[in-house]
Amino acid sequence: MSADHGVASTKIYFREANVRALREEMRQNPRVLILGQDVGAFGGSYREFDGLYREFGAARVRDTPVAEAASIGIGVGAAASGFRPLVCITYMDFLMLGFDPLINYAAKLRYKTGGLLTAPVVVKTTAGAFGQGVAHSQCLEAWLMSVPGLKVVAPSTPADAYGLMKTALRSDGPVVYIDHKRLFPIPGEVPDAETFIPFGQAVVRKPGSDVTVATHGFMVRIALEAALILEGEGVSAEVIDLRSLAPLDINTVAQSVSKTGALVTLEEGQTTCGVGAEVAARLYECMGMRPWARIGALPAPVSSNPVLEAATIPDAARVVTAIHLLLGQ
């Protein structure tokens, strides 16, 4: 246990933050369920459901066969009928197998029924490149941000994983909650008290004055690494962790850019129609043109080949170079 500014907290892993949020919500509401592959006795592929099967039993923590479309559809149908399921899709690459129930039904249910029905389902998935090949590495959150009726969040710390999951499980419509494989080994302090992090609220991870770096997920770590290097070179970068992609908190980014005068958007996904493109467009609508650069994966599939994967995904060096270029240094 530790106490920072008077807030009692404990250092835990991402998966433990997930378990804690779920355990609290499942104790509080008997209608919270978990569906997914290997979520039961196995405790989840990333151990993100450890102990929940033992406590809540097979009816509430259900293993599914490999059937993403039906699993999401079943979660959505149960949600529309008053339950609060979490459907776990182990790899974000497989989420597209369930796009019909998620996007054609769940995201549209409230609108198409004139508010009569809604589907409070959380689809939890894990994105990111980690040596597992072209169909096990993608970051597709940008595809989901534009779906009216769908909320999309992506924590970068265990505290945010806990707080955003708590909020997700009390949301009244479908939420896609996105973890990242490379964040799992990195522990962090999580408040001991019950905490909800609202959607649509970005956070400044590191204050700075020369450039704003708006990012999310694992790339927050890369941005902080780059910011450290830049400090040593006399450039002060302000790193903003978006956390919530839909709804998106453009005000925090705008406030930062008013101060720094320049924006770099950083994501692990593709830059074409990416999170960064949307952030920049909204910023422009907010405050007009500012110098902007976007950094993301190179336009290639992410191979499991270590040389090619490293070349495709942004690293701190690439971020530093891009910032120097943007600032004309």
Partner: protein
């Protein structure tokens, strides 16, 4: 001789681990093959077993503590009467680790 037991780089991508449980207290003698301590990574438990005999002299981390890879967890010696220096030992304790 004084030996230090450091956090092994057992699992790729792991920078920090959590101490789970020590299998001895200062004064406990270990033989090769004995389980010394269990460490927890984000995905697995690492069993650290002695690769040589030695006597556990000092614990530098308690269960629940977090330590980065390479940091010292404990100090061992060949004989119970050797003085323990303030810093870390000269040599690394030979260990084997198993990921469960």
């Amino acid at each position: 001789m004084i030996y230090k037991l450091s956090v092994p780089a057992a699992v790729p991508g792991v920078d920090e681990i959590r101490i789970l449980e020590w299998q001895g207290t200062p004064g406990t003698a270990f033989e090769a093959g004995d389980l010394i301590v269990e460490l927890e990574t984000h995905k697995a438990v690492v069993e650290v077993r002695a690769g040589q005999s030695g006597i556990l002299r000092e614990l530098r981390a308690e269960p629940g503590d977090w330590r980065g890879i390479g940091l010292v967890l404990a100090v061992f010696s060949d004989r119970a009467d050797e003085a323990i220096p303030a810093g870390d030992g000269d040599a690394d304790l030979k260990v084997e680790f198993e990921i469960t």
